[in-house]
Each structure stands twice: as structure tokens, then as C-alpha cells.
Symmetry: C2
Subunit: 454 residues, 2 copies
Amino acid sequence: MAQKPSIPKGTRDFGPAEMAGRNYIFDTVKTVFRKYGYAPIETPSMENLSTLLGKYGDEGDKLLFKILNSGDAFGGIAPGELANSPSLSLKVCEKGLRYDLTVPFARFVVQHQNELAFPFKRYQIQPVWRADRPQKGRYREFYQCDVDVIGSTSMLNELELVQIVDEVFGKFGINVCLKINNRKILAGLAEAVGHSDKLVDITVAIDKIDKIGIEAVKEELSSKGIDKDAIDRIEPVLAMKGSDAEKLALMRSILAESEIGLKGIDELSELFEMISAAGVSCGVEIDLSLARGLNYYTGAIFEVKALDFEIGSICGGGRYDDLTGIFGLAGMSGVGISFGADRIYDVLKGLGKFPDEAVSGTEVLFANMGRKESVYLIPAAAALRKCGMNVEIYPEKTKLKKQFDYADRKSVKYLVIAGEDEMNSGTLNIKELSSGEQSVVKINDIVSFFSKKN
Amino acid sequence: MAQKPSIPKGTRDFGPAEMAGRNYIFDTVKTVFRKYGYAPIETPSMENLSTLLGKYGDEGDKLLFKILNSGDAFGGIAPGELANSPSLSLKVCEKGLRYDLTVPFARFVVQHQNELAFPFKRYQIQPVWRADRPQKGRYREFYQCDVDVIGSTSMLNELELVQIVDEVFGKFGINVCLKINNRKILAGLAEAVGHSDKLVDITVAIDKIDKIGIEAVKEELSSKGIDKDAIDRIEPVLAMKGSDAEKLALMRSILAESEIGLKGIDELSELFEMISAAGVSCGVEIDLSLARGLNYYTGAIFEVKALDFEIGSICGGGRYDDLTGIFGLAGMSGVGISFGADRIYDVLKGLGKFPDEAVSGTEVLFANMGRKESVYLIPAAAALRKCGMNVEIYPEKTKLKKQFDYADRKSVKYLVIAGEDEMNSGTLNIKELSSGEQSVVKINDIVSFFSKKN
């Protein structure tokens, strides 16, 4: 019996139109990544659960999709047996689907450390899976697009990521502002207000400022046991206005007693000096209220906002000093950013910034007037393809109306028609669909006809 | 405690070198697919089990990787409960990982039939998963690379696939032979020898001829209840020599009484007429012993062999008349082929056919002589990238030896060095690493230096 087909909640099919847009995004970022010496890697969709568990907090552990060991529903173990021996359950699931690209990257670097050239610069564009409750804009399967360098503490790496952001969004034609902060400044601030032990709480609270506002952040800080005096000293920092140089100068005085705070300011100053040597086009500014949620960041942190479209951050990242320690390789500092492909897609679509090439596929469609006529057209189609053109012969002899519709749906540029008359005179009738302009061309001249057009 | 990192059996990490080769393969086939009007789609990694089960036979069902519904080990159901109510087990697993791209494609076409332009031409390059016993060359996660057109019975579609095969392997520089047969001829043969009911048995047996030889095929046919007389009439067909025209003529006489057999011969004749109009470079021949295992084929069948490298078939496919019927859409004929990316990789590597571009990434490495020197280099690196070159500044100030090693491991072409002297004179020292040739160039002339080189 026929089933009504559907796909699991929170997953998506991508048809040709969406794929064209998505490929445009991925191809663009890949081209830029390669210009800065980043090379692609791919890791398996499934990792051992021992690799994944405990890396994303309790909440994350619950969101891992787990895979049964074998084809049998319970790995060949009868449910009855399972009940009698709960320890057997470990044998049922040993693998889970990748939750992000960061932990697999750390695992990859440690596992292959002897084969890699360090500093190791990689990009990785693959889907990840989360057993989250699906809702608008939140999927159970989605692509991440990460670029990281590991094994170098130099601020030149941060500069490169800034240049990559600038170049990527420049190519997209999206106006953005890149906000930068440094976790060491936040650590210095916690120290300066007498709450070094509460750095995570402070970071988590500040991270919400865009969503919940300053008053709610203050309440959260207070609920975490941070006294009013400390909060009063944190607040003006978060609201600090002025040029980057002014902000740095003011912070330098506030953090004068904090070694780590001053280190953060030095790092930020060095980065901005390099940015000005490189010359970037997008807006870049220090945002001392930028915190980013993830706990493993220890230095520079980044976030990119689109200026002309209302949406959350479309790119973000930062420096981490010990991502690989958990897999037994200590002292590898790295820095990376992640591009939000789904949001960038929405921005490009919302602003109408997808280029035509990302939309159309087939350039020339040869209409089908019958079998004899098709055979007449085959060499002409082959000749155009040899020049790199995207060409189709409509496979069925049907009404021309239907063939025109097909051309229209595939955004074809030229329709070529050859019936009895054209065959007898060795010609083709070429119609440019946008203008309606028609040309009659010798079949042997078709390549030169189109090479003049392009 | 540090874990020794590893990945699940039968899965693979792909580092930069393998990725470069794999991307070369995928980019090449995609470019060719697009030239024939095929557009990409992607489907979710997980499908509902109801979509997958029963589509691959009992053996296939066992090889499906099943996914637990939620983050809890048993979908929030205690193992004890499971034992008491086996029907609950259905609630534990509702999803499985994609086993191939064909069933998801059929599901996609039926689900989106109102949005698609028919004939619908799609390619799809995504991983699939099988809980098979891992062994050399057999993985639990591997990419398939399928190209299909659905909604047209025209032989022009078969021609296109032949042209695609020819063009793809031409671009790869792999000499191949494309073998073609037609399932209707096999059906006619079964009819002609009085065993129409045994078509599947005959097909499955013949499909093994390359692996087990003609005598073993005859034994298998006999064991399936096909009488000696019938086998004696099948054998010469499988061993038939001569030109394609001679084979067709001989088959036409053997199948003179079989309507379906003659239809198969007509289809094959029409296809070869078109192939000769199109002009292809690779070897194309009729192979009446070609059967292909899959049961859903009903017309033309294809298989591609590399001529200069010992390996199984590297590409194959055929026409099917009712792929979507199981999802409620009858009468959609289609034809498609699948490229074996892993085997093509082995052939390209074995024959040394990967082009240089598929190997090298970074063209120019700027050595790092210190912070001041790096800042001096930043605008030069940015200028080269603006021209589309792939450029790195080595991020750390270390021994030059180490930086040369890094350049070597990344197959860098030029190393650029600037120390105190170069900074004072506004120059750069450029070393071509393959020849050792050195040039001193004004820093402002670096773009024109490299544009003359390329």
C-alpha cells in the first residue's frame, strides 16, 4: 500500500533552488578560506559516545542522537534481557551523531597530530544533529561551517579571521559590523570587582544583554551572589561609548591592577593595530559587553551582525587555549569562527542579494519536435557543452507550451527550435527568452553565435 | 582523564590531502552534471523508518542504522517498561540513517511533486550508512554520487547519461569501457527459453558472471530449476562476440517471438544510433551478459570499467519504470547512474592522474621574522589575496627551517622573506621553492611580479 511520504520533524529537504543558494554560500566561503591557507577536512557523522558525552554539559548530553549498534532493534539483545541487566544498555548504543564540529575537530587533531603540519588551519562544512525541540529557525539537522587554526598563539591568526569575515561578507554584499572583545578583559573585570570566582556567571549573564537588556542582566548578576557595589562597577563598562582607542584607555585604567585584564587589553590593541595595517572594509569595533556563551574561550571573541536585516548574529567565534586537552594533548592554543549558513541564507534572500548565477542552471534548452529532429540537434548540443555551456535537449516530444513552461521554471535563457524547415536549411531558430528576440543561425555556427553573446 | 581518541569502525576521517582529491572528483562530476541540466538536491540524513523499511530486502533492513528517538538511552522509557510491553519498542526508534540515495530520491519526488518541473533532473552527492561488517574497501559511512532523470521515457535521457560518463572520465583522464544492456532483452531471453517466471533468478545468476565465471552461473541457474535445454540456449548469448550490430542482429533472431525482447533490442538500437550522432570518445559496447543486481531496473542498464586499473565497476545504473509507486505515484519512468567516488579515487591515485591543482593549496607563504616584520607584510599579503591568490603569513616567529618545513608540507610554491634589510629598502625576497630561484622585488611591485609568473 502506498505510504504518504514525509520526513522526520526538524529535518529538511533542499530542492534545486535552495541548493543553488546554499552552494553559493558554501562556495564563496570556501574560496575565501582557501585564500588564507585553510584546507578542508571531514570527520565521520557518527562519533563514539565516549568522544561526545560530557563535552556539551548535561543539557547537551540529552540532545545527542544515539545510534543503535546493529540492525536489530536492540542490537540483537532481547528487551527482556535488557531489563534484567541494565549494564547491557551500554552495549546497545556506542555511537552518536556529531553535535557540533568543534569536538570532532579536537578529536581529529589529537588523533592525527603526527600527520599534520602545525599551525594546522582547517575548515569544515558538515551537518550536525541535535535532538532539540524543533521550532522556527531551529532544526534537528543543520550545517555548520567552521574555520579554525590550532597550534599558534599569534595575533596574526585573529587578524586573518577578521580579514576572512570582511572578505566573505564583502563578496555577499551584506553590510556587517564585526564586534570584538577579549575574554581576558572580562576576567580582569571580574577580578577588579572582587569576583574572580564568578567569571562564568558574569560571562553567561553579560552574554544575554542583547536579548534581555541591562536591567535583567543586573538582576541575574545579583541572583548569582554578586554584590551591588560590584554590579555598579560592571554596568558602566557594558554601556561604554566612544572610539576604540578611548574604550581601551578607559579599560586600562579600570583594570590597572589586573594582570590578566591588562593582557587582554594588550591583545586587543595589537589586533586593532594589525587590522588598521591590513585595511578592512566592514565596520570593526570593540564591544565590551560582548561575552559569548561558550566556556572554552580564553582570548579574543568575535560576533558579526548584519546591519540592514533584523536577525541574530550571523557569524561568531573566539580563541580557546585548551580544546584538545580533554583528548590528551595540552597546550594547543587555537582560534576559530563559525558562519551561520541558515541565517546568511535568510539575509541574502531577504535583501535580494543572491546573484543570478546562483539561481539559473541551464542556459540553453533545445526544444523537442520529434525523434528525427532531436538527432539533428544532438551534435549542436554536444558542441555547446564542449565550450562549457549548460545545455539540455527536452527529452519528450510534447506541446511547445509545456516545453516553454519547463524552460521558464528552470530559468533557461535561450530556447532553440528546429523543425522540418530548419532541418532542410541546416539552421536553428534561437529565441532569447527574456527579450523574445529571435535569430536564425546555421547549425554549424551555433558555437560562434553564443560565444559572441557571452 | 584524557581519552585515547578514535572513531567508530568502518568510518573515516578525511584530512586535507584526501579532501583535495575527493573535492576534485565531486567538483568535476558536478560541473559535468550541470552541463546537462541536472540540478542538486539534498535530503535529510535521517528518514522515517517507515520510508526505509522493506525497500532493501530483509538483508537491507538489518543493515539500517536506527536512531533512538530522544537523548535518553531508551527514548525516556525505562528498560523494564520495554520488557513488559514489546510494542513500546516501536516508540524507541522511528528514524534510521539513509541507506542509499535512491529511496530518499523517490520519496522526495513524490512528496514535492507539485513543486518540481518534470522531467525532473537531479544529482545528489551525500553520505549513506550501512551497518555492514567493515572490511577493506567497505565502509559503514560512504558517499554516493547519483544522477537521475525522472518523468520521461525518451531514450535521449540514456544518451545524456552516456555522454556524461564519457565526459566525466575524459576529464579524469581514465580510459574506460561503458557496457550497455537492456533488461527487456534479458526478459525476452527468459521468455524465449520458457522461463519468464524465473527472470529474477536468471538476472541474479548472470550478474555474477564476472566474479564466478560461466560454469558457476550455469550451476546456479540449474539449482534454481532452469532446465539444461534452457541453459544451453542462454549460454551462447552470454558469450556472444562480434560488433554491436552483429550482436543486435543475432539477438533479434533469437528473440523473434518475444515482444518484450524485441522492444529491448529496438531501445538499444535507438540508443546506439543516438550515441553515434553525438560522438563519444570512450569505448561503448553492448554486453549481453551485463545484468546488474538491482530488481527495479526495467530497461537500459549500464556499467563502467576502468581499462588500465584492476578494480570492480566504477559507475553503473539503469532505467526503472516504477521507483515512486511504493510512495503512491505510479507511472514515473526514470533512468540514472551512480558514480563510485571511493573507487574513482583509488583509480586516480593508482594511475597518478590527480592534477597538481588538486594537491596544492597555498601558493605563497610569507615567512615570519618577528612582529614588526609581519605588520610590514600584511598589506602585501592582502594585495595578493585581492588578486585571488592563496596566501599565508606564517603566524609564529620561529626558526626559518621550521617555516620551510611547513611550506614543504603544504606544497607552497613561493616563500617570501622580509627582515630588517628588506624593510629598510622597501623590498621583499621571493624564493621559488621548486627551482630555488630568488628575486628581490619592491614591496609595491609584488602584484605585478606574480601576475607575470601566472
